[in-house]
């Protein structure tokens, strides 16, 4: 039977592999990337924007946070820590709602952020989980909803679900309004629709009567250069028949256009409603209250906190137990305890409060969702503390330096500019990140040779040159000079440093500005490179009913600058209104190559240009049309300075995944990385096929990618999940048909440096703080398997070049790329047996630098690969000192095992003596003498009493020897004088112990052996030292 099973399995596989050997092997996604994994380093200390909070109706430990760009997170411990539960899907979240009857299992998520700032992302529909968030199903019918603001469920019949779709921000759409399902989401009916530019904001249900519904409808539109909130179509509606009919409830409201409306009903009294209005009459803006379920309205308050930025803060929450306690989102958030007549600001926390929820049982406990994450208050909203476990940082841009480990620099939405290490002792902690800019942060660049960092805030209002060592900052933004036109900087203004002239620094307004003295003086080296369309330049009226001229809509500006890494005179510029321009003479002449971009719609935002290392005329440009309602992917390549372009997009990139960035590989021209709104895509064939990278990589918007040159690490700045890194992508360079056809292929690796860093990390706070994953400092063994190894043995070991085994590793067995790490350690020594543990025995000696073989054994086949190991250049020792350290380590290692063998021998002798003592009264005396002599010696060699903590015995020879061994073996410095002196003590003591043993053997031992011999009894059985060491 067994044989049959094996035959069946083996034979079933053969035809498949034969087929694949003949045809072109095209691996996609997880098949290709196998065990390559992304790692997340945060930061989380400033977290990121939250769109919606949702409490559990009965379990006080659980609540959810739906974030603007980082997915859905769940806490099981009242907000101390969170875990992501929506990583496979779009990360821009509008609303999270739990089924009232089945809140542990049934979760609804409406995607697409609803606080419609300029940098807002997009959603792609409605999702439902029926297993607590482990698995999600997309609900058909909402694919084009773009942003869902509300989901309400009838608590008596949870098959009845209402969904409020705010809809498309940048264009007309009929996928808007209020939808109803009566069968748990299988079929839907649009029950309230006003028009293609008016969507549903808040949809709420009366707390007692599920047929009574309220819906706020909002007419709104955003373009790349402006925003318009409000119109004739905005309004507040009520239905009393489960959504079948709707009536406006405006009794008391001012006439004319309305903007965004927030509405809430008091959970404790369904007659009390609060609405926050945006109107044409400033004096009527703000808070309105109805005490008769919407029949009439009274205006209560138009303070700043109630009227500020309606498109961003239209959220009102009523205390579930007290209808007079009302909280309004806003710049600081406001709370009223007198039914909305007066408000005071909420306590200090990150500004921009988007949602507030009360604890289900205790109104002193309030959770708040802000531009800087989730906050908790324990005293009714006066003091707030931040949740430190939500790595939702929203990068606009990142860059890297060449330090070891390299640093990552970047700017964040509403959270300034930062840099932090890509690895740090104990993981990348909050305290590892350094602030280098205020306001909104965007591009942050390190000077190529000096310890200087450039950073900026919105619209280049300030550009900073920060001298890190001296902690000195200077503002250096280009300023208008005599005769200059007014400068137009993008909200996210482009900067670039030169690879050729270290002090050269570029900035883009509508002109390209160049400085050769790190920003002290500037020269304009271009004409206006934009379309300079005046229709897109008046932002003073942007905002609609409430003017919102933050600068975020500044348009007809340069957005990307790319100096060729091969020639300082070649500079590319891309503008937010669709122009690609290039100079080949350092700015004397400019060539507008926009007309050559076949297939790119006119005026499509040039989001990034990458000047190639593979040819002076080679460049990539990506285009983002989403602010014109065009979510298609556009990426073009030119090899002739923009005269002709080829699209490098294939149809295996998902819909709506518009492109923000591209990164080329420095060695393999066909290897490219594409940052899209829905995650990272990789091509190994120049763009003919793209694979989505999903190994620990969420479908998050990737705004910027950099490839760190020394490590080949791919570093991504995401807009919602911080910095995500894929370590060493070099294996992808080697993938071609020949490699893919091999059963096993080891990827080339450069020599590894055995890092000698040995500082302290201090893990304080790690219980509830996000800690970023480090890059392993070990040797990275990368190999490709054509097929996953599931049946039969597969092993991996490290051997020296003479074939001696040095270490055993556990091989990965994925189809595709596999990564195994080896920490350069050999086996730890075998310690003498004792009553307690000698911790010195956990130290493994490191191997000397040199060449080593990796032997992979798979069934009967073996595969070999050679590794080169180097010593750390920062070593404290000379080579001779290190060799001495290695020699002493070896000496001590041997001594530790010699002692283990001696104790073993003693134990074997004692066992025999004991046997005689127990079974042979005649021999008891001689055996006992022998036993006692051995026991006296054993007690001096190893600990025989106590425990591993404070009831521990005094250390004996084993413990002291083990400690000296561990100290020498784990040291990165020469063997110290103190260690050598200690060695003399221990060596002498051990020699004496061995002598004692020899003396016992000669005296009591000989007598005992003679007795055994005389009585035809078996001598004690003692394994050879080699066998002893091999045994477990």
């Amino acid at each position: 039977m067994k044989k049959l099973v094996l035959t069946f399995l083996a034979l079933a596989l053969i035809p498949l592999s034969q087929i694949s050997a003949q045809e072109e092997i095209s691996l996609q996604g997880k098949e290709l990337f196998g065990g390559m994994q992304a790692r997340h380093i945060g930061p989380a200390l400033m977290s990121g924007r939250i769109n919606d909070l949702e409490t559990h109706p009965t379990n006080t430990r659980i609540f959810y946070a739906g974030s603007a760009g980082g997915g859905v997170w769940k806490t099981n411990d009242g907000g101390a820590t969170f875990s992501p539960i929506f990583d496979d899907h779009v990360q821009s979240i509008g609303v999270v709602t739990l089924d009232p009857k089945d809140p542990d299992k049934t979760i609804w998520v409406g995607t697409g952020e609803t606080w419609t700032r300029n940098s807002v992302s997009v959603g792609d529909g409605l999702y439902k989980s029926t297993d607590g968030g482990s698995n999600w199903k997309e609900i058909p019918g909402f694919e084009n909803s773009e942003r869902i603001a509300s989901i309400v469920i009838n608590p008596n019949n949870t098959d009845v679900v209402y969904v409020g779709v705010l809809g498309a921000l940048w264009g007309d759409s009929e996928d808007r309004g209020v939808y109803k399902s009566t069968d748990g989401g299988t079929t839907w009916k649009k029950v309230l629709y006003i028009g293609p530019s008016t969507g549903a904001g808040d949809v709420i249900m009366d707390p007692k009567n599920p047929n009574v519904l309220y819906a706020s409808m909002w007419q709104f539109r955003r373009t790349g250069w402006g925003f318009n909130s409000g119109g004739e179509n905005s309004g507040l509606y009520k239905s009393t028949d489960g959504g079948a009919t709707w009536n406006k409830i405006h009794n008391g409201f001012p006439e004319g256009k309305l903007g965004r409306i927030a509405v809430a009903v008091a959970p404790s009294d369904g007659n009390i409603l609060y609405a926050v209005l945006e109107t044409e009459d400033k004096s009527k803006n703000g808070l309105w209250k109805s005490s008769d379920a919407g029949k009439s309205w009274e205006h209560l308050n138009n303070d700043f906190g109630l009227t500020v930025r309606p498109f961003y803060f239209s959220r009102i929450t009523v205390d579930p137990r007290d209808p007079d306690v009302v909280v309004k989102g806003g710049l600081t958030g406001s709370i009223s305890r007198d039914g909305g007549k007066t408000f005071k600001p909420l306590g200090n926390m990150h500004s921009d409060i988007h949602d507030i929820v009360f604890h289900i049982n205790d109104s002193d406990i309030i959770y708040s969702g802000t531009d800087g994450g989730v906050y908790r208050s324990w005293n009714g909203g006066t003091t707030f503390e931040i949740v430190e476990d939500l790595p939702l940082s929203q990068f606009y841009h990142i860059s890297v330096d060449d330090a070891e480990p390299y640093n990552v620099y970047g700017g964040l939405q509403d959270n300034g500019s930062w840099y932090g290490p890509s690895s740090s002792p104990g993981g990348v902690n909050a305290r590892d990140w350094n602030s280098v800019g205020a306001g909104d942060g965007f591009r942050v660049l390190k000077h190529p040779t000096k310890n200087i960092i450039y950073s900026e805030m919105q619209g280049a209002d300030n550009v900073w040159r920060y001298d890190v060592e001296r902690n000195k900052t200077k503002t250096i933004q280009p300023l208008p000079q005599k005769g200059d036109a007014e400068l137009r900087f993008n909200w996210n203004a482009p900067m670039a440093v030169s690879a050729h002239v270290p002090d050269r620094f570029y900035m883009g307004s509508q002109f390209l500005h160049k400085s050769d003295d790190m920003g002290d003086t500037w020269t304009i080296i271009s004409p206006d490179l934009t379309t300079n369309d005046p229709a897109k330049q008046d932002q003073s009226k942007s905002g609609g009913l409430s003017v919102d001229n933050s600068g975020a809509e500044n348009h007809t500006t340069i957005f990307t600058i790319a100096e060729s890494p091969l020639d300082a005179n070649i500079v590319w510029v891309g503008t937010d209104d669709g122009n690609v321009q290039v100079t080949t003479d350092g700015g004397k002449n400019w060539n507008n190559v926009t007309a050559n971009l076949t297939g790119i719609p006119k005026n499509t935002w040039v989001y990034h240009i990458e000047a190639s290392v593979h040819g002076k005329g080679t460049a990539y440009a990506v285009f983002d049309g989403h602010t014109a309602g065009d979510m298609k992917q556009y990426a073009m390549k030119t090899t002739d300075y923009g005269k002709t372009w080829t699209s490098i997009i294939s149809d295996d990139i998902q819909q709506n995944a518009f492109v923000r960035n591209i990164q080329e590989d420095y060695e393999n021209e066909d290897l490219l990385f594409l940052g899209t709104e829905m995650g990272l895509y990789v091509t190994i064939d120049g763009g003919s096929n793209w694979s989505k990278f999903t190994n620990n990589m969420p479908s998050v918007a990737v705004h910027f990618i950099d490839l760190q040159k020394q490590t080949n690490d791919l570093v991504m700045g995401t807009h919602g999940r911080g910095v995500i890194i894929i370590d060493d992508i070099s294996p992808l360079r080697e993938l071609n048909q020949e490699v893919l056809a091999k059963d096993v292929h080891f990827f080339n690796t450069e020599a590894f440096t055995m890092s000698e860093e040995s500082g302290f990390s201090g893990s304080f706070g790690g219980e509830t703080q996000f800690v970023g994953q480090n890059k392993p400092t070990s040797a990275r063994i990368a190999y490709y398997l054509k097929k996953r190894h599931t049946f039969g043995k597969m092993s991996m070991e490290i051997q020296d070049m003479d074939g001696n085994k040095v270490a055993t590793l556990v091989p990965e067995k994925s189809k595709g790329i596999n990564i195994v790490n080896w920490d350069f350690n050999m086996k730890a020594p075998k310690m003498a047996e004792a009553k307690t543990i000698s911790f010195g025995g956990f130290t493994s000696p490191r191997v000397p630098a040199g060449k080593y073989k990796v032997i992979l054994t798979k069934g009967k086949d073996t595969y070999e690969h050679t590794l080169d190991l180097n010593y750390d250049k920062t070593a404290l020792t000379t080579l001779a000192e290190r060799k001495k350290q290695e020699e002493m380590t070896k000496t001590m290692f041997t001594m530790v095992e010699d002692l283990a063998y001696l104790v073993y021998e003693i134990g074997q002798m004692q066992e025999k003596a004991n046997e005689v003592m127990e079974n042979d009264p005649k021999g008891k005396k001689v055996a006992e003498k022998y036993y006692n002599a051995l026991e006296a010696l054993r007690k001096d060699l190893v600990i025989t009493t106590g425990d591993n903590y404070v009831a521990s015995a005094e250390p004996e020879l084993r413990e002291r020897m083990g400690e000296l061994y561990a100290n020498i073996a784990s040291s990165y410095d020469r063997v110290s004088g103190a260690q050598m002196q200690n060695y003399e003590v221990i060596n002498t003591e051990f020699s004496e112990a061995k002598q004692r043993y020899a003396n016992i053997q000669k005296k009591e031992g000989e007598k005992f052996m003679k007795y055994l011999e005389k009585n035809d009894m078996e001598a004690p059985k003692v394994d050879s030292k080699a066998d002893f060491l091999d045994a477990k």
């Binding site: 039977m1 067994k2 099973v5 069946f8 399995l9 034979l11 079933a12 596989l13 498949l16 996604g29 997880k30 098949e31 290709l32 196998g34 065990g35 994994q37 379990n59 430990r61 806490t75 099981n76 411990d77 820590t81 969170f82 875990s83 542990d104 297993d131 607590g132 482990s134 698995n135 620990n696 996953r788 190894h789 599931t790 049946f791 039969g792 043995k793 597969m794 556990v810 067995k813 994925s814 189809k815 595709g816 920490d823 350690n825 086996k827 310690m831 003498a832 047996e833 004792a834 009553k835 307690t836 543990i837 025995g841 956990f842 493994s844 425990d947 591993n948 903590y949 009831a951 477990k1032």
Partner: protein, 252 residues
């Protein structure tokens, strides 16, 4: 003979092709047991003794695991002459050696009760007669894991108590489409400081253990990073086991 065999293979392949496209969860489980020795052979297993090495990063410990059909279980490791029992279940209580005092201590009763409800019933295989244990299975959308196309089966065990509140106990198992054996499973950790995080267990090196095939390598991962890896060197089916190993020793 040769012709007959070729025919037999051809028939098998034909039979397999449509199977792979429309499988129910039960068909997948049945095929798994069939391909690994047959359900009858699985049902004959009353006790298992496995020996091997467990590695946590650079540290490696030889271990022995004993499992009984009635759920009793013990894992022992030998460390510098000390026999430790990091985890055991005596039929009623989970217990283990406290590393500081080297004394046996009972785990909290919730942990024991939870073990009794589920894991104690999972010898020799979690899916064997799963209905009798009160478990349910459900086929989810196909997926790719370990670079390999897989069937995805959701296994819901009996509800457990976590810090005083009842919670579901759900795992996802991934069965290789080619040979129908599980190559990975995922579980959301439902207690302790890592509650809410997903842990992945990867199964490989299926080898004969008595009359059935079992994975000889089991590796646990968090976010793709290896936590613990167990490499089994030998599995004895229905060996003689000194049952005192399961009993919690008195403190001395």
């Amino acid at each position: 003979m040769k012709i007959a065999r070729t025919l037999f293979i051809a028939m098998l392949l034909v039979a397999m092709a449509p199977m792979a496209s429309a499988q129910t969860a039960d068909e997948i489980i049945d095929t798994y047991f069939e391909n690994t020795g047959g359900k009858a052979n699985w049902e004959k297993i009353k006790s298992i003794k496995s020996t091997g090495k467990a590695s946590f990063g650079p540290q490696e410990f030889p271990f022995t695991q004993y499992m009984m059909e009635d759920g009793r279980m013990a894992v022992t490791i030998s460390l510098q002459g000390q026999e430790l029992t990091p985890q055991a279940f005596d039929g009623e209580n989970m217990w283990g050696t406290n590393f500081q005092s080297m004394q046996a201590e009972a785990q909290d009763s919730e942990t024991s009760e939870n073990y009794k409800k589920n894991e104690a019933k999972d010898m020799p295989d979690v899916f064997l007669n799963y209905k009798d244990k009160g478990y349910t299975i459900e086929k989810m959308d196909d997926d790719t894991i370990e670079g390999t196309e897989v069937f995805k089966i959701k296994l819901t065990k009996n509800p457990i108590m976590v810090d005083g509140k009842e919670e579901e106990s759900v795992s996802i198992y991934y069965f290789d489409k080619e040979n129908f054996v599980p190559i990975a499973s995922e579980t959301t950790i439902n207690a302790g400081p890592q509650k809410g995080m997903t842990t992945q267990t990867v199964f490989s090196e299926y080898l004969e253990a008595g009359d059935v095939y079992m994975p000889f390598n089991i590796t646990q991962k968090f976010n793709g990073q290896v936590g613990q890896s167990i490499t089994i060197e030998n599995i004895e089916i229905n060996p003689d086991i000194d049952e005192s190993i399961f009993e919690m020793p008195e403190k001395n």
